[in-house]
Symmetry: D2
Subunit: 349 residues, 4 copies
């Protein structure tokens, strides 16, 4: 493989590799025979460590991907005649190719938000038709923490949504693909803005922050689900050699590796933000609260720099682009990108 292909860029935090400590733990558990499908001591250890973070009542199930964690988490709590309310920018709406609808059979109803964060008042338009059989019954509010726009819910905002959901006998689901970035951003332990803030169902991810694969569906309160282990298997998400997902979570939660990785990633985002703000003609469109930066730049510059760096267009009409930092981004990476962009912008004028 040539080096150009493997150059660190800002396309996505899943373009990065795996933290060495995670690899080490994979090697460490790779000995002897253990019962498959989660009946092994490593899985039990990892679940215990997660419960230490999230509360002793949490029921935890490993699956393979963030999409699967979201879909199975929702399917565990919602029946096919229910609806899930979320932001129009949510991963479950725009980036899962209809997996929630296909697997859970339910509706996903969205609200537009300026910053990827929903608020109770935005949800009102979908809060009707209760008990009316023609209408999908609202059952879950789903938020992403950090959001797909790089913003982060405060504890109070989450509590308000949880209270709102519970007042309608609904549940609050959190897509935590970037949970660590949010925790670092808030300066809080996981529990403070999940279980303790009223979240009922959590997708606890790590792949975007140094893990290889695997995600944890966490039911944070008793009584939410029944038969979930069958749903996971039927959902094609039961790992035979589950110890290797467990190993990654063990590494991730040991010595706060998650925090180290996310803190670094967030810091790099701040550095990148600072550099980008200095470049004339480049506009930052969202608060940089985790590891995503959304910028508007001229399309011809975007096209030119994308020959050196792969990244995603967010809104073609606005010429808005998404940049993501990662646990392995370096200040050099930031500066090289910013220098290049600065040159291209100046050449444009």
């Amino acid at each position: 493989m040539n080096d150009i292909i493997l150059k660190r860029g800002f396309a996505s935090d899943n373009n990065s590799g795996v933290h060495p400590a995670v690899i080490e733990e994979l090697v460490s558990v790779n000995r002897g025979h253990v019962v498959g499908y989660g009946g092994d001591p490593f899985t039990e250890k990892a679940y215990t460590m997660l419960r230490k973070e999230l509360g002793s009542e949490a029921e935890i199930f490993f699956v393979f991907t963030g999409t699967a964690a979201n879909v199975l988490g929702l399917a565990g709590a919602a029946r096919s005649w229910n609806s899930v309310l979320t932001a129009s920018t949510a991963h479950i709406e725009g980036d899962e190719c209809g997996a929630p609808e296909k697997f859970a059979g339910c509706k996903v109803l969205t609200v537009d938000t300026p910053d990827g964060k929903i608020r109770p008042e935005l949800l009102k338009r979908h809060m009707h038709g209760f008990d009316f059989e023609h209408h999908s019954q609202p059952a879950v509010i789903s938020i992403s923490q950090a959001t797909e726009m790089g913003t982060v819910y405060t504890v109070d905002e989450i509590k308000a949504l949880a209270g709102y959901a519970h007042s309608y006998n609904m549940l609050l689901h959190m897509d935590g693909a970037r949970l660590a970035n949010a925790a670092v951003s808030l300066g809080l332990p996981f529990r403070a803005f999940t279980t303790d803030a009223g979240v009922d169902i959590l997708s606890f991810g790590g792949t975007k922050n140094g893990m290889m694969y695997g995600e944890a569906v966490c039911f944070l309160r008793p009584g939410i689900i029944s038969g979930f282990k069958f749903l996971r298997k039927q959902g094609m998400q039961l790992a035979s050699k589950m110890r290797f997902i467990a190993a990654q979570y063990i590494a991730y939660l040991t010595d706060d590796l998650w925090k180290e990785c996310a803190a670094h990633s967030n810091t790099m985002a701040k550095e990148l933000e600072k550099r980008l703000r200095e470049i004339g003609g480049v506009t930052i469109t969202q608060k940089v609260e985790s590891n995503g930066i959304f910028i508007i730049m001229p399309p011809e510059v975007a096209e030119r720099i994308s020959k050196e760096y792969f990244f995603y267009s967010w809104n073609e009409q606005l010429s808005e682009y998404r940049l993501m930092t990662s646990w392995d981004t370096t200040s050099d990476d930031v500066n090289q990108f910013a220098d290049l962009l600065a040159i291209m912008m100046s050449e444009k004028k």
Copy 2:
């Protein structure tokens, strides 16, 4: 972890760990940034290596598990009003918790077989109702190679089933969770008993033979599928850091690692068979053609030895049990188990 928990036994070939060469390759690809979701050079390399084994027209898609490979492979070829015909012992019938029905919406129709192998004449009972809208339309015949009973289809048997399927405009699907064990058993390259024998869709697995996770859905002929990449994503089976599945296949197919592992596993099964045949009161119920051995032993002995070794009951009424060897089984493992069983059997008398 104490050593007892990690003792190598004969419960399942997925109770073993990962071959060191696979780990090495995981480490090797863990550098730099690459595009996620399969747009990376490692995935392309692995797909090329698989096409070298299966034919240049094969379309290949990595997923996470054998269940997913089977279900998505079937769902790619069958519509919800179709039926899939298989042996009553097939993994898709008894071990996937209804995932084919849930995801593909189709029927799985079974035939009883003495040895896990279906033959065209056994299928006749389901070959009716064509074009009759009240009846699910037979669309796929699914076989497992090696079978769940440890037996292996010959090339001629597969060709007969392929010809039969194609004469009805149906497709032949092969669950190859233990494809390498079958290849070694037949002494043939993969292609000889898959693509060249008329198989249309193949689940090419490696997790039971030294890999960590990941499976390849292979459409061996053009024109079988359309839109499959969407189905994979919607099926929650698109890996973000796909290079790490690719790496495993690269290792698995380099220097015939698959053959080394499977040959060893099959040899250990033969050794275990030989030892078990010498023990009075123990009956072997199926031909040992790959790495599975099915035995009848007195239930009280089974219970006693299961305190030392975990393994699965196959047929409670018959007091039949399944033993599986693995790529890491040693002759010592075989002899220790056989010695212990021999002692327990003699003590019983």
Copy 3:
């Protein structure tokens, strides 16, 4: 329309028209405006009449077809990871094009029976894997009364199956597409062999016995379902002008119209049986206990007579055919058919 096309034959009890009393009631309720979707007084009246037959705790929901009644009844009680156990001749297995799998997502597991009637001992092969997440969890036993083979379960047989089901914490479902024919055959009120015999879920049909369309899903015991009204709507089975289904049930249950129709149909079957038994070379293969007669006759004769009478082949290999009588079959119909068959059989020799 010419008369040949409209000739009464023995193809199916749904080839007949609608009883005049049913038409009369349709006309009778066709006045004024009433709330749609079942919130009308006619629907309430019909439900009350059905509860009088089935017990005051029955929860009743009208749907459009027998297939829908079966599928929704099962989907109301079973989750996608469950299995439904039934006879291989059951309508839900062979005649609903996979609707149970598609809509409920569950597995349908079958047992072969000589006469369409399942017995507890036949079910044993599927009674395993409880709580094992790889295996669909048995949740419902489904029987047809009368069966698709024209046979009828006795009360004791039903009680035995109910007891067996309940001992496993499973439910007993009854497909009553020909419930009236069974009731007449047994000489019992509906309740005696449904609610009182331990049946939990009942599809109470009338279309094959003089109605036009519509079927009742009946949950005979409290606590079986929740949210079923949403499932019915989502299942596309909520009638807007529901009073016209209700009207049919009102007519059907008034002055025991159901009994008059079914008694006539059963009697005609007995007459036809008698005549057929007198014809050399024709074999009756099943007990004639309701309105179906299964016969073996030479295929060339079958082909010849099918030019005059349309009917269905049941088992091509055996040259077995199904004849059904209907509420409007006459003795003349029976004799004309039997006479013609007798002539054709004699000409063949």
Copy 4:
């Protein structure tokens, strides 16, 4: 039944009964035996009549309800990874309890509109992500004609949407639950604003305009579907005694009964509109182009008059209500309602 219950109001056009000519035809086809499930001459006749209206290439399938017609029509054309784009007021979005998602597995994406009518420029926000596997692939644009807001698309508006859809290789679906009202409003034959305007899939309804039950799924161009007859059966929408749906369509299309009924209904809406406009404090919020009138009135008046007349709240926050006229509404009905409302409004001041 007392008369109050059966009083004609303005709740819904499905609260009315069945036109006598429809009943007559039901009686007329109720003779002799015919093959079930649509293999009868009445169904063929009805299909021919529909093809005369819609074009000779139309493939037509009867189902039971409008929801079923929409869902099966969409499911016939879209795969589970597709999305359907529609107005947020569409029946498929708000009134089918998630049936499209459950049965077709696809996403329904909406746009807000002022009048229930979508325009190409409104759809732009969903027209992206083509070929991107993370994103549901837009496949169908669905419009209602007349809309749920009582408005009617012009031929040019439909052509613009069809052209837009086809330019993206998408299909145009029309929910024609009130197709006749639209035809009368436009003064055009069905074909002019369906097949000839580029519509690909049509739900052709009549139940809201004098029929009892039944709806026609019409694929207006060849090559859109394959295997649809199986999908209909699996979707629990295959009527056994289909002649009775056919009979209704025969009556509906004979001597333009549909036109007579819809013209009357539309006229009554105009009369009601005229009367309501004369009442101070009552605002009409949508153009009255078919048989629906949307009004804002004080909530306390709405509550008071709803004790005499049942009708639906449309937007609680706005105190907006929906009134529907029907084929059997009389001028007296209109005047009595308007008089009462006028009195109540005057008493309020």
